[in-house]
């Protein structure tokens, strides 16, 4: 759906050249929710603006649905933009227009007749759950409602791609979850390809299928969300993963666990996908003469499935412990004995 080839963007500033996007190559598939994560200044805002031609690349190309956006201009670019719509961190609604008139705006731009506009606006208001607020002005809405107007407005011309520029960063956690659910719902129902940029890893975890990590204009790591959460390679990726998982995997904490549970063996299990739904633990206890004590654990849901980490203390006679551990290895659960002796 979207291909970026050797994409670079350099800004000339008073302090010299600033390389905002540095030789980025990536492909976003049709119907995918693709996340780009990075700290502020990593170049992700510039990158997303290259996708709809709000910024022109210094070199390289952007192709969306077969059309090369980076070399389009004038009417061709304006038509393309109606199929690659965008929502924003600060919503960017027209305060001078009511909810329905804001949603109607892109339809006016596309030259849709008034009767059809009214019909379409009504559908969109229902789709995003704003029925009853049609005549309200943006100043009378909450942040979440404003973003719903933003989403309705972005969907008005039946786009193929939705770009989300930190769309939930100005919202509280509960509203963020509601907006994210709405995005997933739209993705599934309309088959819309979504590209989102964020600095919050839980947004990636919750709705993205694949993720690219950006640092200093470069994509430093890319893969399925599950993969990235399980085996982050770069330091920056590990920091983002820790945002969601908390710092319990830090070695310091593990040392602390060993101290706290001096008997038997301490085992770390990593579950991925289907494995999280199988009763491995109860079988372990039934089949082997061991005491199992859950020390710590979590399960993280992502769009590609769940994954989890579980720390167990297994105690009993040595033979039984070893058999139990062998059993765990057989289960294709990533097992790691982290204990002393």
């Amino acid at each position: 759906m979207i291909q970026l080839q050797n994409l670079s963007k350099t800004f000339i500033t008073s302090n010299g050249q600033l390389i905002a996007v540095d030789d980025v190559n990536l492909t976003v598939e049709q119907g995918e929710i693709f996340g780009i994560i990075g700290y502020s200044g990593a170049g992700k805002s510039t990158l997303i603006r290259l996708l709809n031609g709000l910024e022109k690349p210094t070199s390289g190309s952007v192709t969306v649905n077969g059309q090369e956006i980076s070399s389009s201009s004038g009417q061709a670019l304006r038509s393309a933009r109606q199929k690659v719509s965008m929502i924003f961190q600060h919503f960017n609604l027209l305060w001078s227009r009511t909810v329905e008139d804001n949603i109607s705006f892109p339809l006016e731009i596309a030259g849709i007749s008034k009767t059809k506009r009214i019909e379409r606006v009504k559908e969109l208001i229902e789709l995003v759950g704003l029925t009853g607020r049609e005549k309200a002005y943006p100043s009378q809405l909450s942040g979440g409602q404003k973003q719903r107007v933003g989403i309705a407005r972005a969907l008005a011309n039946n786009p193929e791609v939705l770009l989300c520029d930190e769309a939930t960063s100005a919202l509280d956690p509960e509203t963020t979850d509601q907006i994210l659910e709405l995005l997933v719902d739209i993705n599934k129902r309309l088959g819309l390809t979504i590209v989102l940029i964020t600095h919050e890893m839980h947004v990636i975890r919750k709705i993205c299928h694949r993720v690219a990590v950006m640092e200093a204009g470069k994509v430093v790591e890319m893969g399925s969300v599950l993969e990235i959460f399980q085996t982050p390679q770069q330091d920056i990726t590990k920091r983002f993963v820790a945002q969601v998982n908390g710092p319990e995997e830090a070695s310091q904490t593990i040392a602390h666990l060993i101290e706290q549970y001096p008997f038997g063996k301490l085992v770390k299990l990593v579950f991925v996908g289907d494995r999280t739904e199988q009763p491995i633990l109860s079988r372990l206890i039934k089949q082997y003469q061991v005491e199992v004590n859950i020390v710590q654990g979590n399960i993280t849901q992502t769009q590609n499935g769940a994954y989890g980490t579980l720390y167990l203390q297994i105690d009993g006679d040595t033979l039984a412990i070893n058999q139990a551990i062998d059993y765990l290895h057989e289960q294709e659960v990533h097992t790691e004995v982290i204990s002393h002796d």
């Binding site: 709809n52 709000l54 670019l77 304006r78 038509s79 393309a80 933009r81 109606q82 719509s85 965008m86 924003f88 600060h90 960017n92 609604l93 027209l94 305060w95 001078s96 227009r97 705006f105 892109p106 006016e108 731009i109 596309a110 002005y137 100043s139 407005r153 011309n157 770009l163």
Partner: protein
Amino acid sequence: MIENLLPNVDWEKMWEATLETLYMSAMATGFTFVIGLVLGILLFLTSPHQLWANKIVYWLTGAFVNIFRSIPFIILIILLIPFTKLLLDTIRGANAALPALIIGAAPFYARMVLIALREIDKGVIEAARSMGAKTTTIIWKVLLPESLPALLSGLTVTAVALVGYTAMAGIIGAGGLGNLAFLDGFQRSREDVTIVSTILILIIVFIIQWIGDAITSKADKR
């Protein structure tokens, strides 16, 4: 009673002068609004990082606006006498005052338009661009409606200033209350005429301010 208090006031002349002042102010405000708006939008769009960013046009428009905004009005009237003569074949009467009034006030209003447009959230313009809007659509459907309260309050200030300018224009023979106060009041030492003219000008200014404020607050949905 009124005759005794204001022995020299000819009410018929006073009414005629009031109408002339109203006519000049209204016409000049109308033209100033249109010309100032065009100049202001041009300044905004050609300024750096904007849709029509163009150093030369921006500089030229800015220079024109700054020069005419800086010339004291009374001098501008005198400077424009040949131009007015060429345009209207006369330098007397209410219409003859209009070129000077408009050329004096439009650059002033253009600056206020520029300030109003700069107050618009950049994100809103970006959103309109991301929807595939043309620049003309952005002007009509984003820039003007989103800056409307500031455009209207700026117009109110300009209209009040124009009432003051008409009084100055009156001194060189444009008619109106300024003319009456100067010729009939000051030069013939009839203080009552000067005072009544002043009060009428004040009433006009207050009414303009009141209407302007009411429309501005009605237009503001923020």
